[in-house]
């Protein structure tokens, strides 16, 4: 997406500078997806395609209602369908709208090497700024939810923007507007959390004792949250991570290694410099040449 925001950045990829903090910001936003109300109609997918002008290729049937088969540079949200037989032997068809979770602590942003290619606005939305994206795919590795996809056409990374363009002018995201059953809601994170509480109570009263809110603290919470019937087992929902976190490998890579390496290389160069200034070059002397000449002469004489 392009960066035409009225929002301040609170995080910016590959940046060492402090984000603007003088203004006190409005509430953080959140999208709440109530899985128990979702009928899997894909209106959200259509709306996403229409609003964002996305038209992936016409694919094939591949043994599921999931179409297209995966998120992609032109597929920013995707209904995922899981058939689950519960302990009572009854079938549950767990349908989940997949897409960017807009982590409070975004792994993509952490991994991104291009300054300002990934930003987090004051309202919590994590956005990709396409013209700054270099297409390295590090965000893919940083994401705990397997969301970003790199385009083969323009080599830029894409994902749900939470319709940052709409939100910044006071509209709800397109998927929210299109959802016929109100399964996708949008508002302040506080309101959404409260509303989720009511929904969870209702679900509990209907026998889903483990109903709960998915707002994983491991990534500082998310700005896209789910109401799940089985909050104890998120992975039932087409592999929603049970405990999502930025991979420790990425933490090492983008955490300790980054400064250490730069320091290490700099130290090596500095060390070399001081070796030069203290000990200096190792030069060949005239004596060496004379010695070498002597040896050569002797050898020549030996052979004649």
């Amino acid at each position: 997406m392009s960066d035409l925001q009225s929002q301040d950045y609170v995080r910016r990829s590959a940046t060492t500078m402090t984000p603007p903090a003088a203004r006190s910001h409005e509430d953080q936003v959140a999208k709440l997806i109530d899985v128990s109300r979702c009928i899997g109609c894909k209106a959200c997918q259509s709306a996403c395609m229409e609003w964002n002008d996305l038209r992936p290729e016409i694919g094939h049937f591949e043994g599921s209602y999931e179409n297209p088969m995966d998120l992609g540079p032109s597929v920013w949200t995707l209904m995922k369908f899981a058939e689950y037989e519960n302990e009572q032997g009854n079938l549950e068809w767990l349908i989940r709208k997949d897409g960017c979770m807009h982590c409070e602590d975004p792994g993509c942003l952490k991994a991104c090497p291009a300054p300002g290619a990934i930003v987090q606005y004051a309202n919590g939305i994590v956005d990709f700024i396409s013209d700054k994206c270099i297409g390295c795919g590090y965000c893919v590795k940083g994401c705990p939810f397997d969301i970003p996809r790199i385009s083969k056409t323009d080599h830029k990374s894409y994902k749900c923007t939470l319709c940052s363009d709409r939100v910044s002018v006071g509209l709800e995201p397109a998927c929210v507007k299109a959802c016929p059953t109100g399964a996708i809601m949008f508002g302040s994170k506080t309101d959404m959390t409260n509303w989720a509480g009511e929904r969870i109570e209702d679900l509990k009263s209907r026998g889903f004792e483990k109903a709960g809110l998915y707002d994983p603290p491991e990534v500082g919470g998310t700005h896209v949250m789910y109401v799940l019937h089985h909050a104890d087992k998120p992975s039932l929902y087409s592999g929603l991570p049970d405990k999502p976190r930025i991979s420790p490998v990425v933490e090492v890579w983008k955490g300790i290694l980054k400064p250490l390496a730069v320091i290490g290389i700099a130290m090596a160069a500095v060390g070399a410099f001081f070796h030069w200034t203290t000990i200096g070059p190792n030069e060949v002397t005239d004596e060496d040449e004379a010695e070498a000449a002597r040896v050569l002469r002797e050898k020549e004489e030996e052979s004649t």
Binding site: P113, G135, G137, K141, C143, A272, H275, E291, A292, V295
Partner: protein
């Protein structure tokens, strides 16, 4: 080029061309790679026309480097085989560093430091190549799972840092040991240089009469 009459050829034209191709690619890789490694170095991507170009070019530099390095291996593997002298030399590393050459045992064509550079690169370049392929988004982005790619990118970074450190040592050593650079630019060293730094090699050459006081020969 003023080549002294008694000069000893240390690196052939092919050696040198290969080396400098290698060096050029390595520098391009370092610059483009570092630009994607730490934000304070992102400016380096400007040397390549911006981040997208740096990202796109880096793996191709890598592919070329691998090819180039194969040439290096073919040409230099024999000279870098370890020998007993390496132990003694390594033990005297403090004297080496201190330019205290009196206490450094004589060594053959390559000393242990040079061999270390060669074998480090011979190990690191394939590691960088393989891990680089795994994270080469355009062609292999979907070939492996993301956890594998995460490990690959970490190994790639570690290997790259190691290679850069080796390279720093290599470059400084070339500057430090006077006239080494000339050996790689013009191909020759003086007998005194050989006698000073690689005495065994010098005696070898002298014994095989492949070097004379007056007429230089082509091959070492």
């Amino acid at each position: 080029m003023t080549r002294p009459a008694n000069a000893i050829t240390r690196y052939t034209t092919l050696n040198r061309v290969n080396h400098w191709i290698n060096a050029g690619l390595f520098i391009l890789l370092v610059l483009s790679g570092l630009s994607m490694f730490h934000p304070i170095l992102f400016f380096l991507s400007g040397l390549f026309g911006g981040g997208q170009w740096a990202r796109a070019a880096h793996p191709w530099f890598g592919v070329l480097l691998v090819i180039s390095w194969i040439g290096m291996i073919i040409q230099f593997w024999r000279a870098n085989l370890p020998s007993k002298d390496d132990i003694a030399w390594s033990k005297a590393i403090v004297h080496v560093v201190a330019n205290d050459d009196e206490h450094v045992p004589p060594i053959g064509r390559n000393n242990s430091g040079q061999k270390l550079v060669f074998w480090s690169m011979t190990l690191l370049i394939p590691v960088l190549f393989v891990t680089g392929l795994l994270i080469w988004e355009v062609y292999f982005g979907e070939a492996t799972s993301i956890p594998v790619q995460r490990v690959a990118v970490l190994i790639h970074s570690l290997a790259a840092i190691s290679a850069i450190l080796v390279w720093v040592v290599h470059v400084y050593a070339a500057i430090w040991i006077r006239d080494s650079v000339r050996s790689m630019t013009q191909g020759y060293v003086t007998p005194g240089w050989a006698w000073h730094h690689h005495r065994k090699w010098f005696y070898q050459l002298a014994a095989s009469r492949r070097v004379s006081k007056t007429t230089p020969r082509k091959n070492p």
